[in-house]
C-alpha cells in the first residue's frame, strides 16, 4: 500500500527556515487537512513534497523510497498538485490546460491516444468543467480556473493529490462540491488527499485527520475533535472563537465572536 511519510523534515528558502521538524504519515483512503495561520508554512509543505524545495534536514518517503530517488516524471505520475493561485496561460483553451495533466504519462514522441482523451473528459465531467472545454482560460472566472486545475490534477491519475486552498475562490456550493469530490477520490479510488484549508469548519467536516501548524512547526495533530477547540484556536491564531459540536454529526463547528459581543459580554 502506498503511503506518504515525512520524517523530521525541515524546509525553508535559503537560510530562512519556514518549517521545522515536521513528521507525519498519510495512507490511502485518507484525507489529511493542514490548517494554520497565514504564513505558518502550509504551501511550503506542499512545495517540499513536490520537490520544488529540498528539505535541509529530514527525509520524505513515498512508499518506502526516498522522494529524491525518483525521477521528476515518475513523481508526477504519483503526486498531483492543485496550486493556490496558479498562473494559467490565457490563450490556451480549458481543454488544452487539462490536457497538460497527461504530460507525466506521455513521452516526447507520443501523441495523446483515445484513452488520454477519455481520461480528460471524465476529469472535466467530475469537476463540471466540460462545458468550458473550448473557452479560453483568459475568459474564465477565478472559480472556474480553480476547478480547471483540479481537473488537470485528476488527469494526472495520481495516487496522492495535494490541494492548496482548493476552496479559496469558490462559492459555498462549489466548496461542498470540491471537497465532496476529494472525499469521493479518497474513498473510491484509495487516493491520499492532503488539503490545506483556512476554513476550520470545512476542515473539520471533510478531513479525517488534521495537522495544525503554528510558528513553523506542528502544534497538534489528530482527528478534528482533538485538534479544534476554542483554546487551541486562541493559542495558535490569537482569535476568540466558540467551538460547538455540529448539530448533525458532532464534529467541531467553529463560530466567530465579534468584538461587539466580546465587549458586551465582559460588561
Amino acid at each position: 500500500m502506498l503511503y506518504l511519510r515525512l520524517d523530521n523534515v525541515t524546509l525553508g528558502y535559503g537560510k530562512q527556515v519556514v518549517l521545522r521538524h515536521v513528521s507525519f504519515q498519510a495512507g490511502p483512503g485518507e484525507i489529511l487537512g493542514i490548517i494554520g495561520p497565514n504564513g505558518s508554512g502550509k504551501s511550503t509543505l506542499i512545495r517540499g513534497i513536490t520537490r520544488i524545495i529540498r528539505p535541509s534536514y529530514g527525509d520524505i518517503f513515498l512508499d518506502g523510497s526516498d522522494l529524491y530517488s525518483l525521477s521528476r516524471q515518475k513523481l508526477a505520475q504519483i503526486v498531483a498538485v492543485v496550486p493556490q493561485n496558479p498562473t494559467l496561460p490565457e490563450a490556451f483553451t480549458a481543454f488544452e490546460v487539462v490536457l497538460m495533466g497527461r504530460t507525466p504519462h506521455l513521452g516526447l514522441l507520443r501523441y495523446e491516444a483515445k484513452r488520454d482523451l477519455d481520461i480528460i473528459k471524465s476529469a472535466m465531467e467530475a469537476t463540471h468543467t466540460l462545458a468550458l472545454a473550448e473557452r479560453r482560460v483568459g475568459e474564465l472566472s477565478g472559480g472556474e480556473k480553480q476547478r480547471l486545475t483540479i481537473a488537470r490534477a485528476l488527469a494526472q491519475e495520481p495516487k496522492i493529490i495535494l490541494m492548496d486552498e482548493p476552496t479559496a475562490n469558490l462559492d459555498i456550493n462549489y466548496q461542498i462540491e470540491t471537497l465532496g469530490l476529494a472525499r469521493q477520490l479518497s474513498r473510491n479510488k484509495e487516493l491520499i488527499v492532503v488539503i490545506t484549508l483556512h476554513d476550520l469548519n470545512l476542515a473539520a467536516q471533510y478531513c479525517d485527520r488534521l495537522i495544525l501548524l503554528s510558528n513553523g512547526t506542528i502544534y497538534s495533530q489528530g482527528i478534528p475533535q482533538e485538534v479544534i477547540n476554542a483554546r487551541t484556536i486562541k493559542d495558535v491564531y490569537g482569535a476568540q472563537v466558540c467551538v460547538y459540536p455540529h448539530p448533525v454529526n458532532k464534529l467541531p463547528a467553529t463560530l466567530v465572536v465579534s468584538d461587539k459581543e466580546k465587549t458586551a459580554r465582559s460588561k
Binding site: R51, Q73, V81, P89, A91, T93, E96, K114
Partner: protein, 358 residues
C-alpha cells in the same frame, strides 16, 4: 458561429479529437504545399523570366526523375540551378530558422516581445563578421561567416553563464544580461566600423542582411544545424506548452524545467547563429511570424512550431524575391522588405483579433 460550434462538437464526438487539431493539421499540410509552389514559382521570377514548364523540366532532369531532352538554353539551367535555387533555399532555411527560434524564445520567456536576437546572438554575430571584414580580403570568403557564427554562439554562451545562479537560470536575469552584453558588443562593433575605412560599405550591407551571391556550399553548411536544431525544438513542444504555466507547475507536472530550458536555448541559439552567419541580421521574421501563427492557430506549440517553420520559410522566400526584383538590378536590403511586407499584415491581424495571445 453557432453552426461552427455544432459542427465542431460533431467532429469531436466522431473522432474523440478536438476539431481545432484537425484544422491545424490541415493548415500545416496547406502551408507545406504553398511552400513548394512558392519555391517553383519564384524560381522563374527575376531578370530573366523563365516559364513555369521549363523550370519543372529542369528540376525533374536535375533530380533525374525523368529523362527529358534539354529544350532550354544552357544558361537557363545555370540561372535556375546554380544561382536562384541555392539562394532561394538559403532564404527558406533562414526564414524557417528565425521563425522557429523566435517561437521558442517567446515561449521560453512567456513574452511576446522576445525575438531570436534577445540574448546577444545578433550583436555577437555582427562583431564576429566585422572582425572578419578587417582581415585581408583573400581570407574573407570563409572567415566572415565562421567568425559571425562563433561570435553569435559565444555571445549567447557568455550571457547564459553570467545569468546562471547556481543550478537555476532566472529568465529575467537572462534578458537583462542579454541586453547588457548586447550593448557592450554593439559598442565594440561600432568602434571597429568607424575604424574600418573603405570596408564600411561591405559591413553595412552585411548588417542589413542579403542573400545575394549565395551558392550551394553555403546551403550545405547551414542545413545540418538548422535541421537538427529545429527537430530538437519540435520534440520539446509539449514541455514548452507546459512551461507556459509557470516553472513550479511545470515541475509538478514532471518537466525537468532547467534541463528543457537549457536544451531549448541551446538549439534556438544554434539555429539563429547558423541563420545569420551567411546572410546577416535579418529582423522582423523572428518576431512577426510566430505571432501571426499564434494569432491565427492558437498557442499550442505542437502545431505552432511546424506552422511557424513553414510560414517563416515562405515569407522570407517571397521577401527575398521582392528584394532582388523590385529595383533590379539594384538589390533592396531584405530587412527593408520584411518590415514593409510584414508590419501592415501583422497590424491587420492584431486589429482583427484583439485577445490574449499567450
Amino acid at each position: 458561429m453557432a453552426l461552427e460550434s455544432i459542427r465542431s462538437t460533431a467532429v469531436q464526438k466522431r473522432t474523440g479529437y478536438p476539431a481545432q487539431w484537425r484544422s491545424r493539421i490541415f493548415a500545416i499540410s496547406a502551408l507545406a504545399i504553398i511552400l513548394i509552389i512558392t519555391i517553383v514559382v519564384t524560381l522563374g521570377v527575376g531578370s530573366t523570366d523563365i516559364p513555369f514548364g521549363t523550370i519543372l523540366q529542369i528540376l525533374l532532369a536535375k533530380l533525374s526523375i525523368s529523362n527529358v531532352q534539354p529544350t532550354w538554353a544552357a544558361n537557363m539551367e545555370v540561372i535556375v540551378f546554380d544561382i536562384r535555387l541555392p539562394r532561394l533555399l538559403l532564404a527558406g532555411l533562414v526564414g524557417a530558422a528565425l521563425a522557429v527560434a523566435g517561437t521558442t524564445y517567446q515561449g521560453l520567456f512567456r513574452n511576446p516581445l522576445a525575438d531570436p536576437y534577445l540574448i546577444g546572438v545578433a550583436q555577437g554575430a555582427a562583431l564576429g563578421a566585422v572582425i572578419g571584414f578587417m582581415l585581408p580580403v583573400s581570407w574573407q570568403l570563409g572567415s566572415i561567416p565562421l567568425l559571425a557564427f562563433i561570435g553569435a554562439v559565444s555571445a549567447a554562451a557568455m550571457v547564459y553563464s553570467i545569468a546562471r545562479v547556481g543550478k537555476t537560470l532566472p529568465m529575467t536575469t537572462l534578458i537583462l544580461a542579454g541586453v547588457a552584453i548586447g550593448a557592450f558588443l554593439a559598442a565594440i562593433t561600432s568602434y571597429l566600423m568607424i575604424a574600418s575605412g573603405d570596408r564600411l560599405q561591405g559591413i553595412i550591407s552585411w548588417l542589413l542582411g542579403s542573400f545575394s551571391l549565395t551558392s550551394w556550399w553555403q546551403v550545405a553548411a547551414v542545413t545540418p544545424y538548422i535541421l537538427i536544431g529545429t527537430l530538437v525544438i519540435w520534440l520539446l513542444a509539449r514541455p514548452l506548452n507546459v512551461m507556459q504555466l509557470d516553472e513550479e507547475q511545470a515541475q509538478q507536472l514532471g518537466i525537468n524545467v532547467e534541463q528543457v530550458k537549457l536544451i531549448l536555448l541551446g538549439a534556438a541559439t544554434l539555429i539563429t547563429a547558423a541563420a545569420v552567419c551567411f546572410c546577416g541580421i535579418i529582423g522582423f521574421v523572428g518576431i512577426i511570424i510566430p505571432h501571426a501563427m499564434r494569432l491565427i492557430w492558437g498557442p499550442d506549440h505542437r502545431f505552432l512550431l511546424p506552422l511557424a517553420t513553414l510560414a517563416g520559410a515562405i515569407f522570407l522566400i517571397l521577401a527575398d524575391t521582392a528584394a532582388r526584383t523590385m529595383l533590379a538590378p539594384t538589390e533592396v536590403p531584405i530587412g527593408v522588405i520584411t518590415a514593409l511586407l510584414g508590419a501592415p499584415f501583422f497590424l491587420y491581424l492584431l486589429r482583427q483579433k484583439k485577445r490574449a495571445v499567450f
